[in-house]
Amino acid sequence: MDLGPRPGGPRDAWTRRVLALAMLTAIGFVGLLVQLWYLQALEGGHLQEMSEKNRIRLRPVAAPRGILFDRHGHPLVDNRPAFTLSLIPREMEDRDTVLARLSVLLKIPLTELRESLDRVPADSFRPVRVRRGLSLAEVTQVEERKLELPGVIVEVEPQRVYPTSAFAAHLLGYVREVSEEQMKQGRYRRGDMIGQSGLERLLDEYLRGRDGGERIEVDALGRPVQVMKRDEPDPGGQVITSIDRRIQEAAERAMTGHAGAVVVMDPRNGDVLAMTSSPAFALDRLTGNLGREDWRRLVSDPMTPLMNRALQGQYAPGSVFKVVVAAAGLQEGSLTPMDRTYCTGQFHLGAWTFKDWKEGGHGHVDLRSALVHSCNIFFYQAGLKVGPEAIVRYARAFGLGATPGTDLGSEKPGLIPFVDWKRRRGGRAWQAGDTVNISIGQGPVLVTPMQVARMMGAVANGGILWKPRLVQRVEESDGALAYSTSSKMRGHVDLSPVVWAFLRSALVGVVNEGGTGGAARLPGVLIAGKTGTAQSIAKSDSARGQDHAWFASYAPAQDPQVVVVVLVERGGKGGQVAAPIARQIYQAIFLEKVAMVALGGES
């Protein structure tokens, strides 16, 4: 190569510098040839041997998923080692025979095995997990026939275990292998276990940890001979939730046999102490190997066990909504505690007749006794006085009609109508009858149990609407703080202190002065609350057409520490069905106080 001076031109500085760069590059090429000589001539024989045997395998070592704890440090889930059946496509020389044997041995449908292999290249050395959670007997069967099953291995991986099968199912959420759809996000590897719902999904990034890997040497039959190098996995972070395990358990126990939801919240800071939805689903089965058929059954179950009713269930609030109407009326001056009416059990508006739930009516009632005894007739009239605009405005101020913001996703906003809503949707203008309906929480009003809990929290704490907090903090496996949250105020309901005092006194009356919530009364703890009985939409279906029962409450009334909201789907009357459930939960929360009163014989 002639890089020297061209005829007629001196070798200038540019040429010299380019020449230097060319030399540098040439040195690089020579270096490469030296390395190639080393690899191919000197190491060649050895590497040739390795290529013949190709004895190195790389196996993933799954990271243990982070643990979720309750607010006192009690674990809500744990991990235990579980056996996973995996196939190494490259080592399965006679694929059909091996799969057929395996299918018979473990009773796994052959098509399922084939499908999991079809998704990966046939010459891959990466193990493909085909079934998790093998029993010890199954493992023994596979190990005994190891020689007939080339390419079939059993790996040990950490798997979630739960205190009970369905404990806090909706809150925690289930963990399952990444789906084809999720693979497309490019963040996961095939076979990764990721949180699919609830906190497991919300905090998946923290909980997942990082998988390690093992470089192992295997013999001609693919059996491991020795581990050459092992990169330890990084375990996932630990999550400290705001949940109180004891209260969560009590809430679930109390809801046994009912469909519905319970939310327990601390009105002082918005911490969610318990959240349950029933019927629940079996977390352990969803996390383990749930067959396709079982999955389909779960998804198509008419009782929708996968739905989190606390956040996604939208129900008419029924008489619980009277608290909003009373607050709006008192604050705006359209109602006073002195307002009285005589309740005959019937209310006429034009050609329409609205009835009270109590045959024959309540007789003389004022605002307080109308709340205590949940008199509809009084509130029909009150609603007309307050007017739909004010009712709707206060409902929104109490956080109804908007998602409460738990971050869990798929929260429903419920429905608080705009007064011109009917015109837009149904083509009919808002009428006085609509106002009468929403005054008792019927008609076009829908709320979720979490919204009602926030609303009762605001009554208990003097107007603060908290963002419900489920997670206090996340710590990495080495104890470093990865994430933390503090209580956040989302809104404030501005009512004068007199109005708050009146509402609270009336709510104490509901439970303790012969009102509709008497069944929640608990000696030793002063409970304040409001019952609600909401017509379900499927009125025509007689078997399923029973009313939804509400009980929204807080305690102790003098110094509120917890809000308990109970909703029983098609349970009947709030006072008869929901209030006793709330009482059970309060009993667990205030165990010591209740026990002391019982021992002292005082009521």
Binding site: M1, D2, L3, R6, G9, A13, W14, T15, R17, V18, L19, A20, L21, A22, T25, A26, G28, F29, G31, L32, L33, Q35, L36, W37, L39, Q40, A41, E43, G44, G45, H46, L47, Q48, M50, S51, E52, N54, I56, L58, R59, P60, R90, P121, D123, F125, R126, Q185, G186, R187, E205, R210, G212, G213, E214, R215, K229, D231
Partner: protein, 363 residues
């Protein structure tokens, strides 16, 4: 401009063209050898059609006066940067990085084309004041101009392309006479800025970059490739195993075997002798490029030729270094060998630029 006069034709650098065609032929052959009869044939045909498109592009580029290309470099620059931005908006994510744009059935990787635009921009910025002494402001301005697309490429993240651009800028700056002391200062400043960039990344992006830098963080991915590539190359020994004996390659131990790791396949099949031939061919190509740069009088031609040569040399050396285990694994194709349209077309267009400069030297 397209009117080719005879003097131009007389000065076509046939040696350069022949060397390039030789390497390209080896590429198509290797594609076919990977899996004769199975996917390999289709792969070879597709690669061949990319070669065809690339050669047309080469002819077009060579017949245009490179000086007019340098003159409109700002327009190319704007186009290139917008393409890189488009990658973010419309780009397709493949194994965690957004590098590709979908155009009907074709996926297109703008960062490949951008390497050439980068060099054109360099030539425009550094050579437009030919004759005047190089001032610090010009150099700083140039670096600022190149910083924007560089960061865009890093964010894709396409660390491979980014790492190619650094030596290219360094080589061109050395060429135009920036003193080594100044260059060293830039390098130090760059190093100092690294932690700041690190802080700006999200945790999962840091993770990704760390996997790039340290393959053992991803023990089942890249580290496995390196080991298997070494075994493949080494087992080729002196004379190679031939096509049918190349078990490492044919049995698909290398996931990226037709793209970034193609050299391992070639080395297993043809052994040290084959590698020697290929590397000498690459050496001739690159040294010829340097010669063109050295012998050109036009400042724009000089910088452009040096830049294009540096792009080729950097890619070849980094890719081969990575496949032979001398350098950590970053995603860089081997010019003219690796499967992939964007890289093939861009490399041939680069050679077109060199030919163009060569042809117009003697006027």
């Amino acid at each position: 401009m397209l009117r080719v006069d005879r003097r131009l034709l007389q000065n076509v650098d046939w040696a350069l063209l022949a060397t390039a065609l030789f390497i390209v032929a080896l590429s198509v052959l290797s594609m076919w050898n990977l899996a004769p009869g199975r996917g390999g044939t289709a792969l070879a045909w597709r690669q061949l059609s990319w070669v065809g498109i690339g050669l047309v592009a080469l002819l077009v580029v060579a017949s245009v006066d490179y000086r007019s290309l340098v003159r409109v470099a700002p327009a190319f620059y704007v186009l290139g940067v917008s393409l890189l931005v488009v990658v973010f908006v419309l780009g397709r994510t493949v194994s965690g990085a957004r590098r590709w744009i979908h155009l009907g059935p074709i996926t297109f990787q703008p960062s490949e084309l951008f390497k050439l635009i980068f060099v054109l921009t360099l030539a425009w910025a550094l050579a437009s004041r030919a004759g005047e002494p190089l001032v610090r402001g010009t150099v700083m301005g140039t670096l600022a101009l190149l910083g924007v697309p560089f960061l865009l490429v890093v964010r894709q993240p396409d660390l491979g392309t980014a790492l190619v651009l650094i030596p290219v800028v360094a080589a061109v700056l050395v060429g135009v006479g920036v003193r080594l002391r100044v260059l060293g200062a830039f390098a130090l400043a760059g190093l100092a800025a690294l932690p700041l960039g690190w802080l700006a990344l999200k945790p999962y992006q840091r993770d990704r970059l760390l996997v790039y830098l340290d393959p053992f963080r991803d023990p089942l991915g890249t580290a496995y490739n390196v080991i298997q590539a070494k075994i493949a190359i080494g087992s080729g020994q002196l004379l190679g195993k031939g096509v049918s004996g190349a078990t490492q390659s044919r049995l698909a131990f290398l996931p990226e075997r037709h793209t970034d790791f193609i050299f391992a396949v070639f080395a297993e099949m043809w052994g040290f002798i084959g590698c020697l031939v290929l590397i000498v061919a690459y050496g001739l190509l690159v040294l010829r490029g340097f010669e063109i740069a050295a012998s050109t009088r036009d400042p724009r031609g000089r910088v452009l030729a040096l830049g294009v040569t540096a792009v080729l040399a950097a890619q070849i050396l980094i890719n081969l270094g990575m496949v032979t285990g001398l350098l950590p694994v970053v995603g860089i194709p081997l010019p003219l060998m690796s499967y992939g349209g964007s890289s093939m077309v861009a490399s041939l267009m680069g050679l077109g630029l060199l030919l163009s400069i060569r042809m117009r030297q003697f006027r």
